[in-house]
Symmetry: C2
Subunit: 107 residues, 2 copies
């Protein structure tokens, strides 16, 4: 799921779709109207976003409303934190970091 979430986010169009959804839920066609892409293209992106847990959907008649799913983003950020969060890094890496700071050859 996390891997799918990162993969989802890596495509600009999908990030744009998420941006649009920050203002509230929208139907597939409402989203499509904001892009210069075909409806199937948007539908395919929404499917990917849903399967990655970043977006949720509710049906209402023939319409399908899509919205941001916070839990998905929360999990994603937690996962990314593993790579750099000080409290999660090894003692060795922490020591190296300190060493670099002392030598002021940082970055």
């Amino acid at each position: 799921m996390i891997q799918k979430a990162i993969h989802s986010l890596s495509v600009p169009t999908r990030r744009d779709i998420l941006s649009v959804l920050r203002n509230g839920e929208l139907t597939s066609s409402e989203i499509a109207s904001k892009f210069e892409l075909s409806a199937p293209a948007i539908s395919q992106h929404l499917k990917v976003l849903e399967q990655s847990g970043l977006v949720a959907m509710r049906k209402a008649g023939t319409k399908r409303y899509y919205r941001i799913r916070r839990d998905g983003f929360e999990e994603l950020v937690k996962f990314i934190d593993q790579f750099w969060d000080t409290s999660l890094l090894s003692l060795k890496e922490a020591a190296e970091e300190e060493e670099r700071r002392n030598h002021e050859s940082n970055d």
Copy 2:
């Protein structure tokens, strides 16, 4: 840079490289020895990671030591937070969220 960072993270091998670097800095060949990939493949990944700001490098003779660059991850997480952080979502979306909670048809 942020877009590059997300793109970098979207490839499993690059995430694995970052995992290996959590224990401290390593040379290109030390990293390559931990994978069943050619040295050039690893080198290419390291280049992408460096250009995306997730990894930093220092030269020492013919060796090149690579390490995690915290600032890159910090920026990345800030960017991702935009999509879901409550304080950054619109009033409309907040209201809809509240509405869904009340109807308990949430997820």
